[in-house]
Symmetry: C2
Subunit: 223 residues, 2 copies
DNA sequence: GCGTTAGGTTAACACTGTTACATTAACGCC
DNA sequence: GGCGTTAATGTAACAGTGTTAACCTAACGC
C-alpha cells in the first residue's frame, strides 16, 4: 500500500511567501507574460530588485510557483482515490478524472508546466508526473495483480493512460470543444469541464476493453 | 473518397516571404521568445518598423508562420495514407504515426500551436486539426463502414485517437522519455523519435482491441 | 564598537513591441 | 511635365521588460 508523501513546503519567510502568492495570482490571471518582476514587487510593496534577494530571477520564481502547483495536484490525486478499493478500475478512472479536473481548474499552472519554453525537457520529478505518475503507476500495477488489467509492461499502460487524459485536456485547451463536437450535439448547456469529463466517460469504455485481460474477452491472443 | 485540398499560399511579395522565412527560422531555433522584431528585421536587412508594413505586429507574424506549419502538416498527413487501403486500420495507424513524426520534427511549430498563450481557445480551423482532424475523421468513418471499428459516435473515436497521440507527443516534449521509461529498458541507443514511435506501436494493440467491433471479440455487449 | 550579513533601495543597461512622423520612389492622371 | 497618391522604408522615441551594480541600513555575533 502506498501512502501520500506530500513534502512540506520548505519553511519560508513571510516576504518569500508573499512574493510567491503575488506571482501565483499574476500567473493565474494572465499567464507568464503578465508576471513581471515589477508587477510582483508592487503587489508585495517592494522594489523589483528586492525580489532578486529571494529568487535567482524570473525563471526561478515561476519554477517555484509551479512546484507549488505540483504539490497541490498530487494532493488532489491522492484524495481522488482514497475511498476506492485498491486494484479496482475505479481507482484508475478516478485518477484520470482528477487529472482533468485539476488541469481545467488550474489552467495557468498546467499551461506553464507544459508550455515547454525550455528546449530541454524537464526531469520527471519536476513535472506533475512526480506525484501523479507514481500514483497512477502503482494503481495500474495493483489492477494488474487483481486481474483487471492484462499483464504487460506497466510503464506502457501508464503512459497510454496518461496520454489519453493529457491529450484530451491539452486539445480542449487549444481548441474550442464545442467546435470539435458540433455534430455530436451532446454539448449544449454543459460547461467546458463537464463536457470534458463527459467525453472522458465515453473514452473509458474504449480504454477498458483495450486493457482487459484476454480471459475476459473469451479469447487467448494476448501478447 | 476525400481529396487533398491544400490551399495555395496567398501570392506574397518577396519581402513578405523573406520576413516569414526569417521569422520561421528564429522561431524554430529558440521559440517565441527568440523571435524579436529587430532580429527578424536584421536578418532580412530592414529596420524593425518596416515589418509593420507587412504584418500587424508580432502576434500576426507568428500566426502566419504557424499557419504555414499547418499546411505542411496537412500535406504530411495526406502523404502518409495515400498508398494505404481506405477503411483499413493501417490508415488510422499511419495517421497517428505521421502526427507524431511531424510534431517531433517541427517542434517549434507544434509548441506554438498548442502553447495556448491566448486565454481563449482557437477555432478548429486555426489548429492543425483542420486538415488532420478531418482526414482522421474520414478515415475513422471509413473504418467503421468496413467493420474494422465498432459502430459508435465517430467524433468520440476521433478525439480519443487524437488524444492518445497528442498526449504522447506533448508529454514527451515536456519530460525526458528516458526518465519515464527507465525501468522498461527498451530505450537505450534509440533516438527520441524512434522511441516515441516505438511506444506508439505498443499503444496500437491496446487501442485496436478497444475499438474492435463486438463480433471480433466473440461477445455482443457493445453499447 | 566593529565586521558581517540580511534585506532593502536607486540608477542604469540593454533589451523588448510599438507608434508617430518623415522620407523616398513609383505610379496614374491631366 | 507636374501633381497627388500610395507603397515601402527609415529614424526617433515611448513605455515597458529582466537584470546588474552599487549603495544604504538595521540587526546580530563577538
Amino acid at each position: 500500500m502506498i501512502e501520500p508523501q506530500i513534502v512540506e513546503p520548505d519553511a519560508a519567510s513571510e516576504t518569500e511567501t508573499a512574493i510567491l502568492e503575488a506571482a501565483r495570482d499574476l500567473l493565474a490571471a494572465g499567464g507568464r507574460e503578465a508576471l513581471s518582476m515589477r508587477a510582483v514587487a508592487s503587489k508585495v510593496g517592494l522594489s523589483a530588485t528586492a525580489i532578486y534577494h529571494w529568487f535567482e530571477g524570473k525563471e526561478a520564481l515561476v519554477d517555484r510557483v509551479v512546484l507549488h502547483g505540483f504539490r497541490r495536484s498530487e494532493a488532489y490525486m491522492w484524495k481522488a482515490i482514497e475511498d476506492l478499493p485498491p486494484g479496482s478500475m475505479d481507482r484508475v478512472a478516478a485518477l484520470g478524472e482528477a487529472y482533468i479536473r485539476f488541469a481545467l481548474e488550474n489552467r495557468e499552472y498546467f499551461k506553464i508546466i507544459f508550455a515547454i519554453q525550455t528546449p530541454v525537457p524537464r526531469h520527471i520529478d519536476d513535472v506533475p508526473g512526480q506525484g501523479g505518475y507514481r500514483v497512477l503507476r502503482q494503481c495500474v500495477i495493483e489492477a494488474m495483480e487483481a486481474e483487471n488489467i492484462r499483464r504487460t509492461d506497466p510503464d506502457v499502460v501508464v503512459l497510454y493512460l496518461w496520454s489519453v487524459v493529457h491529450g484530451l485536456v491539452t486539445i480542449f485547451m487549444a481548441c474550442d470543444p464545442k467546435d470539435l463536437l458540433a455534430e455530436t450535439g451532446c454539448c449544449d448547456e454543459l460547461d467546458e469541464e463537464e463536457l470534458t469529463i463527459g467525453l472522458f466517460g465515453r473514452f473509458r469504455e474504449l480504454v477498458r476493453v483495450g486493457l482487459e485481460p484476454a480471459a475476459a474477452r473469451g479469447g487467448g491472443d494476448d501478447a
